[in-house]
Symmetry: C2
Subunit: 454 residues, 2 copies
């Protein structure tokens, strides 16, 4: 084995900069040569790291044989930006090589006219599979499944299975077993490849198969699917309809996609970004989406300003309050955000239930009290050093304790309430929390000051 076959060393990774330089030099021959050595996963990575103009140039240089696979590996938004520019015939040709679940994913977002051209061009068999996939909602097992299942009957011997397998040049990716069905196509269990290898050839499939290997109902939510793959160490699993009829299978790589999308959603949702957000999207389309989020937050900001406005007279008399008030709001925001993130993750992992949410709320509020008292002392000390005013020091200390306790309570209550209302806490939790910590922070600090210091 030579050094070049061993991965991963930095040098064997596709260099995005090298591609950009070749594009700038318009050295298309060298570029085509380079691209020919990458496989679709790497090509997709490179395309996603290109600004819009360079991305289109590069896409035209990608060898046709790699086009379909590369297309399916791109994020929706990047893929759509390339598809809209493709001639329909080219797109139709690319779809011929796509697998059914990728096709279903893509076709839904296309204009009716192009969609029809694609569907007309498909073989009857593929079109039928596509329609089955599309009959299930997005985000379910039925939409994820692929039809590339190798099935065997339960009443034959392993000898027969082996002869049947030898008719195949190769087995599909992530084939760790064959799906066992009865005469009418009902799922019976899974015959693991390693059992075929380790068992006597005269055994019957039904004796060797794992009838405990559960199938996934096509209407199952994809997050449940991911959970079960992890728990049961599946590499692939059968998908069945409500009558236990075998429809297809879900593979490990589908699950990785689900997990990745879920984590991207949790991370990006907090900032009002879509998880498919294309880093190199054109300026206008990026600005449009982001600006909506700024608008939502502006409402929060004006609400906070309105609260401050109530105490304009107080601020007019003691200007130090204006200087210090952001400290109270900011400490509440930070502490609340910690509780919020933990709670949202706990909900996503199904760790929080009716039985333990009370314990959790008490714990978080207690942490709020402890942190609040500690930092109130520190802040009061620093404020006293700065302004030499005992009244202001005491008021800010009290306000910090109040706001940190409110932040903890809000950090746990907001996601619980949002989930009950079927609103995604990962998306709107942070905005609501900031509203609470700003309002409570300004209100308690300026309110106490008005009451005690004027």
């Amino acid at each position: 084995m030579t050094e070049s076959e061993r991965i991963p060393t930095e040098s064997t990774k596709p260099s995005i900069d090298e591609v950009i330089i070749l594009l700038q030099q318009a050295d298309f021959d060298q570029l085509k040569f380079l691209l020919n050595h990458f496989h679709p996963g790497q090509l997709a990575d490179i395309l996603e790291a290109m600004p819009p103009k360079e991305r289109k140039q590069l896409w035209d240089l990608i060898p046709e044989s790699q086009g379909a696979d590369t297309l399916t590996l791109l994020h929706d938004e990047v893929r759509n930006s390339l598809i809209v520019e493709m001639p329909t015939e080219e797109l139709v040709a690319a779809t011929e090589q796509m697998n059914v679940s990728d096709l279903a994913d893509m076709i839904e977002e296309l204009p009716e006219r192009i969609r029809q051209s694609i569907e007309e061009n498909l073989s009857d068999e593929i079109r039928e599979h596509l329609e089955t996939n599309l009959s299930f909602e997005e985000g379910t097992a039925g939409r994820l499944m692929s039809p590339d299942v190798i099935t065997v009957r339960n009443d034959v011997t392993l000898e027969v299975v082996l002869r049947y397998l030898q008719l195949h040049e190769d087995l599909p990716d992530y084939t760790d077993g064959l799906m066992v069905i009865d005469r009418s196509g009902l799922y019976q269990g899974k015959l693991l490849l390693n059992k075929v290898l380790t068992h006597d050839k005269t055994s019957l499939v039904k004796e060797v198969m794992n009838s405990q290997h559960p199938a996934i109902l096509a209407t199952t939510d994809e997050h449940e699917v991911a959970h079960f793959f992890e728990q049961f160490h599946f590499v692939s699993a059968a998908v069945v309809d409500e009558n236990n009829y075998l429809l297809g299978r879900i593979k490990m790589d589908d699950v990785i996609c689900i997990l990745r999308a879920k984590s991207d959603h949790a991370l990006m949702g907090r900032d009002g970004l879509h998880e498919e957000e294309d880093l190199f999207a054109p300026v206008i389309s990026s600005a449009k989406r982001r600006t909506v989020w700024l608008g939502i937050n502006l409402v929060t900001a004006f609400l906070a300003a309105w609260v401050i406005g109530i105490f304009a007279d107080t601020l007019d008399k003691i200007v130090a309050l204006a200087v210090l008030m952001p400290i109270v709001a900011s400490m509440g925001g930070i502490a609340g955000s910690q509780t919020l993130t933990l709670t949202i993750r706990g909900l996503a992992l199904d760790q929080i239930t009716n039985g333990n949410s009370g314990w959790l709320a008490r714990k978080e509020v207690l942490i709020g009290i402890i942190s609040g008292l500690l930092w109130a002392l520190v802040v009061a000390g620093m404020v006293w050093l700065w302004f030499q005013d005992t009244g202001i020091s005491l008021v800010i200390a009290a306000a910090i304790v109040i706001n940190l306790v409110a932040a903890a309570a809000a950090g746990i209550a907001i996601p619980l309430i949002l989930q009950r209302l079927n609103i995604d806490p990962a998306l709107s939790g942070a905005v609501i929390l900031t509203t609470v910590t700003d309002v409570v922070g300004f209100m308690s600090f300026l309110g106490l000051a008005t009451y005690y210091l004027l």
Copy 2:
């Protein structure tokens, strides 16, 4: 197949509340009966969703046969909380059933005395494997690998391989192929199980094996490992030393753990939380860690207050400025946070390079200008309606444009600089960004007001 064997339906999922209720009722017989029906992955999930006292009670009720597997599936922090209470003999017994990479993971954090007892109790073979794993740094392929590899020589026929496999009762999880080695143990390639099944039995291993199937160098970073598994659709891959000597293998489920830890780190790091943070940790240990984060943010808050303090005279004269100033800071914080999140994710996915970071910076700043102008107009209008003061309206509009552009520039520059300094941007990026948007926001708004309105 009966309904109960089909997953996942809500009813077959372990009910955490049911467990909590049985614990409260001290109905330990029923509880033991229930726990017996869960497998280790489910038991780990349940334990992680328990408050500390209940967690310990429950742990004592878990059947011994499941103990070791359950222990390895827990997050570090939860596991450590259980281990410290276990009698050494019990812990030693549990480790006997653990696999080497889990054991390596755990043993490092144990006190020397317990560690010795465990190591003395291991078989020579396992201890040797453990030492090999521990000789590699945490976060490398060598630490992740397990020794459960089935190897074959390259100069035998498939016939021989099949006979050899039939000596095994079962193959280890995620065995999609056998590792091919030469006489001296050097890695030659992978013999996929499906090739064994589909090829003629008289073929030699070296004719059928995939010599292109790359091995992973033991010193490779785990994130690279995950990347390659995804790109090449691996289910398992060989790990070799620098001489190409086969040391072990990495499996798909290791990769899922890496991906999960990475996404948890990105999500939790922003709030100064550790990715292994135990939702149900005791109050004191949680408060300790979180309070450090509040302290760091307090520095930022005082810095912002100090900036405001410079303009105390201005605030004293125009109280409306105090009312409005949080709006400028908050809009900058939100916009900057969007750019920061996108940039950190782009860096994590290796999408941002020298060649495209310039394009990206221009794009983000341009978005900042567009959003800035749009929202400056809206805010100026609202402020005019509120205070009927053209001067203040113009000043806040200008400050918002300045702060949104600064936020975009900071959102992209901060993570790039931090990465070059080898500081994790997911951890400290948000704090630094807030400092910038607060300081620039207050400074530009109050500075412009001082200059033009006094």
